[in-house]
Symmetry: C2
Subunit: 330 residues, 2 copies
């Protein structure tokens, strides 16, 4: 299996990318294809003492600017490491791609260069969030700020396939993000989506209020991309707030206290750390596309590559296609 990685995406590129790639090659046995400026990649690897002779490099002289208009990836940005990586994926030079660069650029690039799965109306950004009990897939977390109800149903199908095939959760519980539990709650969008979700070939468990997300009683939460983005970012923000507060509590004179329960603090940090979960999947594209967090370090890239491998091994693209075929008859 070959995983393509944008070597110049994210705040810590290319060093963190190289660290994660090295570990992935060694521990997961996947082949690594790095896209980016070859000279700069080789220099960075040499400086850090990272062996990359067993990795392929696809030369791409430019880097896609994080502030650039997303659709410029198609023309002005076609020689960037992100675009070259996506083109290579399209041309069969890899089975999946990992990128920590501009989310907008990646969504636009993947949609137009790699195309959507046949029948999928819109791709959705699907991060994995920690909860009290297990991982939760939220989608759409921001690829489409305006959504129709039929798109939300497709998100639910794609999310269910992912949680089953990649996370091994049988019959994943799907919830619709809403302002109340009753089926009469919400805007016209939620009312329509509720009705369609009930008929879809998924385990739809009704509306979920944002308050319940951390409880872990749902495996997939679907919403329009605006609401989902608010939820994702508050999840991240409150997680950081929590880590800071715990840090403050144990600073200075609290250090002795921290030593006593160090394993627990460590376990909690690990549970709340997005780096453990890889990245967000851009679901609905014809090949697995993993959007790693912009601040990813070597460990986060390693986990994102593992996630890409799991998507390929789980055959999520073909399973999604098969589900869509089934739905045609409904």
């Amino acid at each position: 299996m070959r995983i393509i990685i944008d070597a110049f995406g994210g705040d810590n590129a290319p060093l963190a990318v190289l660290q994660g790639s090295r570990r992935a090659k060694d521990e997961l046995g996947v082949d690594i294809v790095l896209s980016g400026d070859e000279t700069r990649i080789r220099e960075a690897a040499q400086q850090a003492g990272i062996q990359i002779s067993d990795m392929e490099i696809l030369h791409a002289p430019e880097v896609f600017d994080i502030h650039a208009q997303p659709t410029t990836i198609l023309k002005e940005g076609k020689n960037t490491s992100m675009a070259v990586g996506l083109q290579a994926l399209r041309d069969g030079k890899g089975d999946a791609i990992v990128c920590a660069g501009s989310t907008g650029g990646l969504v636009a690039g993947a949609t137009f260069i790699n195309k959507r799965i046949k029948g999928i109306k819109r791709p959705a950004l699907a991060p994995i969030l920690p909860t009290k009990k297990g991982p939760l897939m939220l989608m759409d977390a921001g690829a489409n700020i305006d959504c129709r109800a039929d798109m939300i149903v497709q998100f639910a199908i794609m999310g269910s396939v992912y949680m089953e095939k990649v996370k091994g959760i049988k019959n994943p519980r799907v919830g619709l993000l809403n302002v109340g539990a009753e089926e009469t709650k919400g805007r016209e969008l939620e009312l329509q989506a509720y009705e369609l979700l009930q008929k879809a070939p998924i385990n739809f468990c009704g509306n979920i209020e944002a308050r319940e997300m951390p409880e872990g009683n749902f495996d997939v939460v679907v919403s329009d991309g605006f609401s989902g983005n608010i939820a994702l970012k508050l999840y991240e923000g409150m997680g950081a707030f929590m880590r800071d507060n715990i840090g403050d509590m144990f600073s200075g004179a609290g250090k002795i206290s921290a030593l006593l329960i160090y394993p627990r603090i460590k376990a909690l940090r690990k549970r709340m750390d997005y780096k453990e979960h890889g990245g967000a999947v851009l679901m609905g594209i014809s090949a697995p596309v993993i959007k790693a967090h912009g601040s990813s370090d070597g460990k986060a890239f390693f986990n994102a590559i593992r996630q890409a491998r799991d998507c390929v091994e789980g055959g999520i693209i073909s399973t999604i296609s098969a589900h869509l075929e089934t739905m045609k008859g409904v």
Copy 2:
């Protein structure tokens, strides 16, 4: 000053209401008017040994059901403790009201029984959230699931008045909840609201991503009621998640560790506890209406009554009216 309190709103009514009222009468010197079944109120007070002979009771034989259709408060529910309280407020028998009952019922009742401030298009639910630095007012947190841009501008004005008059914050910083910081971000609603907010007589500081809310760099965050509700509930849910995690960390063998930093744990709990901040204000109604949390205990009711007093003392209704007058010329 006379504060009306729905004696039968919330999970812990009437006991918690009576506890909070007693403390408010003693410590704040406000007059208390309890609305609800007189016999049940007197029985509950006697059983708990709470002196209420210096409080007025407005007899209301029924209780508004939390699952009832909000607008039924106007006809079928007109003899409930909530409706009788709102009617008394309208008739000048009190200066403000505190209620922990159905949010929908309270919004509908206050809108039609007490009316909006002249010129205000929609009332908004405005809870106070804890942040790293100070209190943050979020509005609308769910009174209107669909909003227009001009409503959001009015929310911003009302929130600014509250934070200045009640919390003493000069020139409150207002942010528009959005999916990115740039002014080109968001749906049509946010694009329009951004433009109008720039021209409004407030200290508009641009878009705020949900991630930044806990940072405390904004005093007022405005949004439509659907997005605001998602943000509010996730804020609450993550706060509870955090309290549970901290609890787990210090359970069993962690107890010794907890003892060492007990004052810090206590301070953090206090900071994160919504009970400290009173309730959500239903802004835009012609008199202060405080929606206390459904699970309010005596302390939460006390704080909500204090908040009602602060709204009356701060003259927020007349200040909002004056601001709206100024805007007419713009």
